[in-house]
């Protein structure tokens, strides 16, 4: 019965934890916010008080230039909110600082995944399965066509494109928070130790990752490079800069994009991508469904993404589920 969980309410602009008067990832400014991770569609500025992991708070400070009302909670630490709600932050494996929020009240446990993935990521600790009553899961890649290949094969594709065209450069569009750093860390892991060149918008976030102990090797800014220095180089920029005037300074770039959407050809073509790299920081279909099985909740609430298909899967597997109509979550660039 939904009524059993009356203390937690999905509203259009976020999930309301009623007894504590707190909102999870609200899309508008509120008095008390619990934030899962630093992506702009989850972490907005202007809240009275913001509870998040120290890493997420650092990311938010970088973006919104304020630490006012910040209340850090480390992974595994439990805090008690007014109204007798206990809150624990558990790794979600999505980006640096990303967490699932575990809420306990009146003997019931609710887990809000935020965005998550199950694949290993050198930039953040892995997702942990927390058994619960209500599992509020994302569904960004909630269609059975989405099956992310191992990242090693995608990194190999990137390195091969670079090696095959040493007179050009490979320009990779990647989300400035998370995807870019994971891509760089994976390139390093694959033995690529040359300078990696950055679009200016990437710099501060990469520095922040390094301050939090994620080594990214030698990074330099494209603005400081000559065209010849960029031949045979890998350049990382935000997806929005891929077809921008900015890229004209590069030597005949091969346009690549690191995103789970690249699994679908038309998506890649729409963005004029020549080298699609299927690299995602979200769970694919297999991970979404396996995670529901492992968490084994008495009901699943499905949000932001292709709710319909995951809802159907739950029905087919006799699992109680409902789709939430939350607004403001978009992940076009993942």
């Amino acid at each position: 019965m939904i009524a059993d969980f009356a203390w937690i309410r999905p509203e259009p602009h976020g999930i309301h934890v009623v007894p504590a008067d707190c909102w999870i990832d609200p899309s508008q400014a509120v008095a008390n916010a619990l934030v899962t991770h630093g992506h702009a569609d989850h972490a907005r500025g202007g809240h009275g008080r913001t509870v998040a992991t120290p890493e997420t708070l650092a990311i938010m400070e970088l973006r919104y230039q304020t630490r006012e009302g910040a209340l850090p909670v480390r992974y595994g630490e439990t805090i008690r909110l007014p109204g007798e709600v206990d809150v624990t932050y558990v790794p979600a494996g999505h980006v640096l600082g990303s967490a699932q929020i575990v809420l306990e009240h009146a003997g019931e446990r609710v887990v809000v995944t935020g965005d998550y993935k199950r694949r290993p990521d050198p930039t953040c600790p892995p997702f942990e399965v927390v058994p619960c009553d209500v599992f509020i899961t994302e569904a960004t890649f909630g269609l059975p066509v989405f099956c992310h290949p191992p990242i090693e094969t995608e990194i190999a594709k990137l390195l091969k494109a670079r090696a095959d065209h040493l007179d050009r450069c490979v320009l990779v569009g990647a989300y400035a928070l998370g995807k870019a750093q994971r891509l760089i860390a994976e390139l390093r892991r694959a033995g690529h130790h040359d300078v990696i060149w950055l679009h200016g918008a990437m710099e501060r976030m990469c520095r922040l990752y390094e301050e939090w102990g994620v080594g990214l090797g030698e990074l330099r800014l494209v603005t400081d490079a000559t065209k010849d220095e960029l031949r045979g180089a890998i350049v990382v920029c935000p997806p929005s800069a891929l077809n921008d005037r900015w890229s004209r300074r590069l030597p005949d770039p091969i346009t690549a994009m690191a995103s789970g959407w690249m699994r679908v050809r038309q998506r890649a073509r729409q963005r004029n991508v020549e080298l699609p790299l299927v690299i995602s920081d979200h769970a694919d279909w297999g991970e979404l469904t396996r995670t529901i099985e492992e968490v084994n909740p008495s009901e699943s609430w499905i949000t932001h993404g292709r709710e319909e298909a995951l809802l159907r899967w739950c029905q087919l597997h006799q699992r109680r589920a409902r789709a939430l109509a939350l607004v403001g979550y978009e992940d076009e660039d993942d």
Binding site: L143, P144, V145, V264, A268, Q270, R306, A309, R312
Partner: protein
């Protein structure tokens, strides 16, 4: 198959024409026969497997995946072959060897409607997603990798340094996998023998005239007839009728199959006579009448009697063993005029030359032409040889083509009269930037015709099911449906927020298949402004 699949994917992601030519040429040079011939056939859409159709493929998929999940996936991906390639369950056992292209073609050819459900899965199980995609595209005959048959032939010519005209000439004498074509181009064997066979020869085509002004001392004007451009070929005792794409359409027009009994290749317009047209008994009827005859497997006697076909001749390419194509137009015309008395007059007539002293007179002549079967004018250089394809400066067509743009339905209003109660007046818009980057739709025009009554009912249902807002009588839709809109011209206008207004807009096609974010942007429309 893996190498072909890699080629297909590379073509999907490569934007430049030269890049595509290079990819195909490399593939053709480095791949053995007969794989490369089958691949070439697939790229030129020359393959068809009667038993392997989208229907059975969908059914196979739905035996393996929940139909609702399949439908949602298909909906998102936008392509059945790609959806199936992604959803197909990974085979249990590794170590299965992927088929070569020719092995795959061989298996596909031998599938029947019964065996396809058993044999196609075996084939799909031997491939990775990319291979499955390429296989399904090859099998269903629509590659859609952004290349035309002409581009593939050009790539073939580049790969082996032969002329594309020669490739076109021999192409139709051969069938996939084109072993003789490769032997000739790649290994210097003798070219295929084309004499004494009723073969299709590539058509000479025209460029639109645009704003060019021509000197009638150099160019001659002819009517452009609104029928089907055809080639009538007689060789080796057999007559064939070919459409512009080289398809044999003799079966649809059996009355033409014994109309020619001397060896020749003639270029003309296929028309039907409609006694009720234009008052002149036996004149050419409109294209509508011709449509009655199209796409029929069997032609009834009534059809033959009511809409008899004939060919209005423009040109002669080959005549009694002589290739006339290198002669100037006026010499070929002389030969054609001399030939006319030898042809049956109920099946052939001659497209007359349009007399005009000055180019300026032609506009008036064109505008005053009342004949339903006239589509416009052709202007041909008097000294032009007959060459395959479109060659700049030789032939021009001068018709008022409508302009086309893809718009998204934004608002609908009910019509009046016969259409009252139906939502039949549509306001549509184009994107003001990148739709994936948060662009908005701005209205660019309004149209209330161009669709059939059946389509109107579908559109009405669509509007009712996709309403997100109401403003009095106006419904705002969820902006998910694309119209191909035809219009005569577009002008700057302060009336619309887009700053543009179309003249005479009408719905040319309803693109149920096209996602809204693929509709055109305002800039595309603005580029068509002429004043």
């Amino acid at each position: 198959m893996e190498k072909f699949a890699a080629l297909v994917d590379a073509l999907v992601y490569t934007r430049s024409r030269n890049g595509k030519l290079q990819l195909i040429a490399d593939y053709l040079r480095s791949t053995p026969d007969p794989d490369r011939g089958w691949a070439l056939a697939a790229l030129t859409e020359g393959l068809s497997f009667p038993a392997v159709k989208p229907g059975p493929i969908r059914n196979l998929m739905m035996e393996r995946v929940d139909p609702v999940l399949f439908a949602l996936s298909r909906d998102f991906v936008g392509d059945t072959a790609e959806t199936v390639s992604l959803l197909w369950p990974a085979p249990d056992t590794d170590g299965k060897t992927p088929p070569t292209v020719s092995e795959a073609v061989d298996l596909l050819r031998h599938m029947t409607r019964n065996s396809v459900m058993r044999e196609l899965p075996d084939l799909l199980d031997r491939l990775h997603p990319e291979g499955r995609y390429a296989l399904l595209k090859l099998a269903t005959g629509a590659m859609r990798v952004g290349i035309s048959a002409r581009l593939a032939k050009t790539a073939f010519a580049q790969a082996f340094e032969v002329s594309v005209e020669d490739v076109e000439e021999y192409w139709h004498a051969l069938a996939p996998p084109y072993a003789d074509l490769f032997a000739w181009a790649a290994e210097g064997a003798d070219p295929p023998d084309t004499s004494d066979r009723p073969l299709f020869r590539p058509f000479m085509l025209a460029h639109p005239l645009e704003d060019t002004v021509l000197d009638l001392d150099d160019y001659v004007a002819e009517w452009k007839w609104d029928g089907i451009r055809v080639q009538v070929v007689h060789a080796g005792g057999e007559t064939r009728l070919y459409s512009r794409t080289g398809d044999d359409v003799t079966g649809s027009f059996p009355e033409m199959s014994d109309a020619l009994d001397l060896p020749a290749v003639l270029d003309g317009e296929l028309l039907v006579r409609g006694a009720h047209q234009g008052g002149e008994a036996g004149g050419a009827a409109s294209f509508n009448a011709l449509q009655q005859r199209l796409g029929r497997k069997t032609v009834s006697k009534t059809m033959l009697a009511e809409f008899p076909a004939f060919v209005r001749l423009y040109d002669v390419l080959l005549l009694e063993g002589e290739d006339l194509r290198d002669l100037p137009w006026h010499e070929r015309r002389g030969r054609l005029e001399a030939l006319m008395p030898r042809l049956p007059s109920n099946r052939f007539d001659l497209s007359p030359v349009v007399d005009a002293d000055h180019f300026g007179d032609l506009a008036e002549i064109r505008a005053s032409a009342r004949d339903d079967a006239i589509e416009g004018l052709m202007l041909k250089r008097r000294d032009s040889p007959y060459v395959a394809g479109r060659r700049t400066g030789l032939w021009y067509k001068w018709k008022r083509d409508p302009l086309l743009v893809d718009c998204v339905l934004m608002y609908a209003q009910r019509g009046s009269g016969k259409r009252s109660s139906f939502y039949s007046d549509y306001t549509f818009g184009c994107w003001d930037g990148d739709p994936d980057g948060g662009a908005e739709l701005l209205p660019v025009g309004k149209a209330y015709f161009g669709f059939t009554d059946e389509e109107l009912r579908e559109l009405d249902r669509y509007v009712r099911n996709h309403t997100v807002n109401r403003f009095g009588p106006v419904r705002e839709t969820d902006k998910s449906l694309v119209f191909e809109v035809a219009f005569d011209s577009v002008h700057e206008s302060k009336r619309h927020k887009s700053g543009l207004a179309m003249r005479f807009p009408r719905i040319s096609r309803i693109r149920w298949d096209k996602p809204a974010h693929e509709a055109d942007r305002i800039e595309a429309l603005r580029a068509l402004v002429r004043d």
